[in-house]
Structure formats: C-alpha cells, structure tokens
Amino acid sequence: MKFGLDHDQVQFSGQVRKFLAVHMPIERVREWTEAGIGCPPDVWQRMTQELGLGAIGFPESVGGTGDRLLDQIVVAAELGRALDPSPYFPSIVVVARTVLEADPESDWVSELLEGRTTASPAMLDPADPTMPKPDGAWAVREGAGWRITGERAYVPQGSFVDSFLVLAGSDAGPTLLRVDRDAVGVSVADLPTLDLTRPVAHLRLSDAPAQVVGEPGGGLSPAYAALNRALVLMAADLSGGARAVLEMTTAYAQTRRQFDRPIGSFQSVKHMLADVLLELEAARSAFLYAAPVLDGGSEEAKVLGHLCQAVASEAYLRATKTAIQVHGAIGFTWEHDLHLYFKRATSGAQVLASPQFHRERIAAALLDT
C-alpha cells in the first residue's frame, strides 16, 4: 500500500493553495467574516465552477472526479489552511454526500457539487447536540409532500445557504428532508459565533413544507456514512490549519529576538514547537491511513473517523495554544491572525462532537464487544 499523497494529489494541492491565495486570502476572510456576510457567492461560484472543488472525490456518476476520499482530503486540508468560510463543509462534505448515500439518482447532488445551489445539514437536536439524531423535529406527510415542525441547533452557514437537509422523526422512522430557506414556516436566527469562519444559525421549522430525500425512515444510515467521511475530512481541515500555524510560529521564533538571541533557540520554546510537530505529523498519518480504508469500507473504517477527529482536533488546539504563547502579547490581539486559527481550532474540536465523545466511541469498540 502506497502511503500518503501521490504526485497528482500533491500537484493539485499546490493548485488549490494558489487559487485560495488569490481568491480567499486571509485579509478577505477577515473582511467577510467581520462584516457577517460569510463567503461571497461569486467566490463560491469560482471555487466550484472554475476550480471544480466540489466535484473532487465524488463518483463520476454525479459528475465527480472519482470516489476517492484522499482526493477530497487534499481539498479539505487546503481549505482548513485558508480558514475557509465557504459552504464547502456543510454543502459538499455533509449534505451532498448524505444525499448521494440516500438517493444516488438525486439531481440535488450535482447541483450542490457545481455550486448552483448550497445547503446545510440540520441534524442536531437542541436538547442533545452531540450527534445527528431525529429527535427534536417531526415530519408528517401531506399529499405528495411533507411538512416539518421542530428545531435544529447549530446549523452551519444557516444564514447563507439556499436550503437545509433536515433529519427528522416521522411515522416511518428517521427521515431526511429538504427544506428551502425561503419557504413559509422557516425561520433562521443567526448566532454570534466564537469562530467567525464557521457561522452557525438556529433553525425553527413551523409546519414548513419539505421534500423527502431517499426512503422515508431510511435517514440515519446515509447520515452516518457521510458523517464518518466528514470526520476524516474535518481532521484534514484541522491539520491544514495546524500546519499553517506551526509554520507561522516557527518563522516568528526564528526571527523574534529576546536576550540577544532568537527565541526559537531557547529549548523551552523549541520543545513546545517540536511537540506540535509531533502531534501534527501523527494526526496527518491518521487521516492519510484512514482515507483508503474508508473507501474500502472495512470493519476497521468504523472507528477511524472517530480516531482522526479526536487526534486532529487536539493537535490543532495544541498548535494554536502554543502559537499564542510563543507569540506573546501580540498573539492576543484582534489585529494578529492567530485568534482566527485559535477560534477555528476550538470550534473544530466541537462541531462534529468532542474528542472525549470520539474516544468514548473507540472505547466502546475496544471494551463493549
């Protein structure tokens, strides 16, 4: 087994980085997110249509480049590095994949991949927002369509997407439904988030019209299949950010002088950065290993998403906390970029459930069998 990225993937990774440096530089990300406008639609159009980011790692049958998670990992890692505020994660990683799993014939998938429309998963119950569950929202059939009533917490990019993929309870069981943001009975409340690059909203549905996606009652399995991949892709996103932070902090430690020497020559500083490197490389190894295993769909794949997410989120948190400490006071300012990474690391460690949650899943696989 060849481990890691192949030549084409390395090259594509460079292309994505260049593209994002032009169209999504950190100064723009700051402007957009501070203004609360998210990623401008024309930028998302370029990303999906000019660069074709959405299609990467999806099957050819839906207009993708081939069903390979490692290809998509390349994209996720570069987007994480760029502090991506676009709908990529909710719209492509979660919704498009879930819909593909639930209904491979749905046109919605290719529309999402091509950036012609955007969507966000609304799957978390406000009462227990650890993992997707049908609780807290209920769907009923009405004629040819459906109606939903209920609440969904922490809907990513909720204010900026065209529609939602809601996981709701129904007489048939947990069901996936599409709800348009502009439909009657839909109210979206933007929330002031710690991490401006991952805006979330609270969604209230009051007898809102909906269309079923896939089989009624068959909502959980596609959601979980997509989620396992999402965990690995999120790990790549987090590692991409951690890498940027480590590079930035290493450069600072090489040039910042105190006591007549670069601070990076002090072992107290050097060892902190060495530990960041250690954790980052280990986390990177994890998702590079996991990607082909998930494609293969073996038994081992079931815990790998949990493993990747647990280790990558802790690696990113360590990287950003170390970075702030090494930068000293300047790292605590709004003006410096570090807080953007720190906040993204913090949100990244919770947005698909916490490291403790994932370790518990791993413990269950080790001990409860």
Binding site: M1, K2, F3, G4, L246, T250, A253, Q254, R261, P262, G264, S265, F266, Q267, V269, K270, H271, L273, A274, D275, L277, L278, E281, A282, A283, S285, A286, L288, Y289, L307, A310, V311, Q356, R359, E360, I362, A363, L366, L367, D368
Partner: protein
Amino acid sequence: MTEPGSTEDFRQQVRDFFRSNLPDGWRGYGALPEEERKAFCADWREIMRRERYLVPTWPEEYGGGGLGLAEQAVIQEELVRHGLPTIPHPSDLFAFVLIGPTLLHWGTPEQKAHFIPKMISGEHRWAQGYSEPGAGSDLFSLTTRGVLEEGEWVVNGQKVWQTDGQYANWIFALVRTEPEASRGNGISMLLLPVDQPGIEVRTIRSMTGKEELSEFFFTDARTAAENIIGPRGAGAKVALTLLGFERGSASGATYAGYRIELDRLIELVKERGLAQDQVVRQRLAWCHCRLEMLKYLGMRTLDSALSGEPPGPESSITKLYESEYHAVVTELAMDVLGMDGLVLSGAPGIASLGPDPLGAPNSPAAWINQFMTSRAATIYGGSSQIQRNTLGEQVLGLPREPRPDAEKPGTTTEKAVSR
C-alpha cells in the same frame, strides 16, 4: 521496490516456515518458563540463521539473507505476531541494529569478511560503548582516549550504561583519538575485544532489581590498529550513519509488539471490572489512538524508505512518540492495578527494552516491570529532550542553543573540556 503482491506471498512463506518449526499449541515465548525461554531463544536463533532470516538484509556472502527492506519488515512483524524473539540473544541488538549496519556501510572488505559472519554465528557478542559518566546527552564531549602505539590502539577511560554488557566479548566504542581536534572531530570508532586484562566489566543493577546494565573500565586496553571503522576522527559521523538503511523496517514489528501489550491491558481492564469506568475508557481510547498512529507513522516511514525518498520528519518523530507512549500506557496499567500494583505478585515480566512478548503473564509483577523499564526508554538512545532538539533544529529549522564557548571562535575551551 517490491510489489505488494509478492510481499504477501513472502509473508505466507515466512508464516509457513515459522509454523513448521514451532511445537503444537505454541502460545509465544512469553508463555515459556524462564529456564526454557533462554534455551528456546538459542535454538530459534539457529533455526533463523540456517534459513538466513536472522539478518535478512545483510549480504549473502557474509551469511545474511540478501533480502530487501520490505522482506525484513515482514519477517520482523511476523516474528512478533507469532510470539518469537526478533532479538534472540540480548547482544544481537547491538550487532544487528547498530554496529553491523555501520560496518557494512563504512567497513573495509577485510573488516566485513571478518566481523559480519561472526555476528551472525554469535561468536562475537557486541556491546555499545558511547555514553560516559561525563558524556550523556552531550555525547561528543566524551573523554575516553585512544593512542596508537606500536601497531595497537591503547585505550583509557570509562564507558557506561551498556545494556546486557556482561554478555559481550566485543565492544564498539567512541574514543577520542585526535586530542587537538575540536569535540566531534577528534573521535574515532574503535572495536575492542573485551576478554583482555585492560578491560574490566561491572554490572549495574537497575531500578527493576536486575543486573541489566553495565560499565566498562579501560586501563591500557588494547586492540589492533586496523580495528577502527572509518577514518581517524570520523567517529562522530560514523556513529550518526546508523540512521538511513534500516529506516522503518522494524515499524510493523514495533507496532505489533505494542498492540499485543495493549490487548493484554484491555483484558486486564475487563478482568478487574473497570470496563465501564469512564476515566479508564477515556485513557484506554487515548492509548489506542496513540498506538494506531504509531503504526501509521511507521507505515509512512517504511513507505518513503522503500520509495527511496530521503528521511522525512516521521523517522525522527517515531522514537520520541513511541517512548512517551509507553510511559503513559504502563502508568495506566498501574492505575488499573491499584493497590495490587504495589506487590510483585504473579509471574515476572520478561522484556527490559520495549513491551513483553506474546504469551507473557498479565500479572502485577510483569506490569510493574514494564512500568519501570518504560522510564528508561525516554532516556536511552537520545533522551526525549534531545529528540525535541533534533525535531526543532533539523526539521523545523529553529536555531541551535548558543554555546558559551562557540561565540568566541578560536578558543580552546572545548578541547579543555574534552580532556
């Protein structure tokens, strides 16, 4: 590079060979009583030697297997999985992993022809002579000195921390032979026979209670002039060459060994009724994540070695990662044992370097031994702090810690320290 398919064929071949040479009901050498274990390891060494699996990558002309890195990785991993020793005699570690590869790289044809077959036959049993009482992490400040007199090196000084040094009849030692050169430039790698009046070996009892370490005193110890590896003064470079070739080949075996250990711990957790303890579950899952990542790091290292890529950061990372992991997992075992971890009950542990092999007892005594030996792993072979320096300086490119004497070029402070 070997095709993956053929590696799998080779793996089957190795497994078949092992099974045809093992008794029925084999449960791993960890399950053998101590008296039988030594005899088994000696016999197994001979079986491996005859099949030329003992040192798979060494050239056939010297008795090696003439195989590639991929095959060596397979053999070592299968050994561990079958509960068979990768290092059948304690001194083999220093021959097969350290001085052998160094000799093959730096040695003259005569040196190779003389020493390599004797490493394989077991006639020569090697000890490593690097550390000194005053030179640990700062290895190149060593002061054991060698002078060439009438066709012989005459060596005076002291080396210390030889693991199982009492079994050795040869020692490879870093010795200061060029006193006028600065630090690392004045050192040579010498090979000395141990059985001579000029060398005294004393054992050192470690915290485990075993006489597992030793120290070597050199008083006009002698060795032939030709028993130097590489040029005079190149010893530091020779010692650092150990790196490259074997890179990653032991990683599968290393992982397999720690996996056997963690599975043993999982059994212990269940036996002791702690499987539903939330803290234990979190800590165990954490260990599982670390261990699996050790496997992935190893696969990356081996993969890049097989592709002929230069060593990446992963090879420098593994030592630090592995030794720190082992300290944590053995601490968890002690917490799982609780008060029972205060009494050396049950069958004793086996390994002093790394985890106990397949079949080893899941007893308090064995875990206590591992808990103690894991303290050493973050020190020997370059302490965790030295590893972090290496990562910081050689991978991240951070500046070195300035030396007080290095700021004044041309001073002789360093040499004074060396003497």
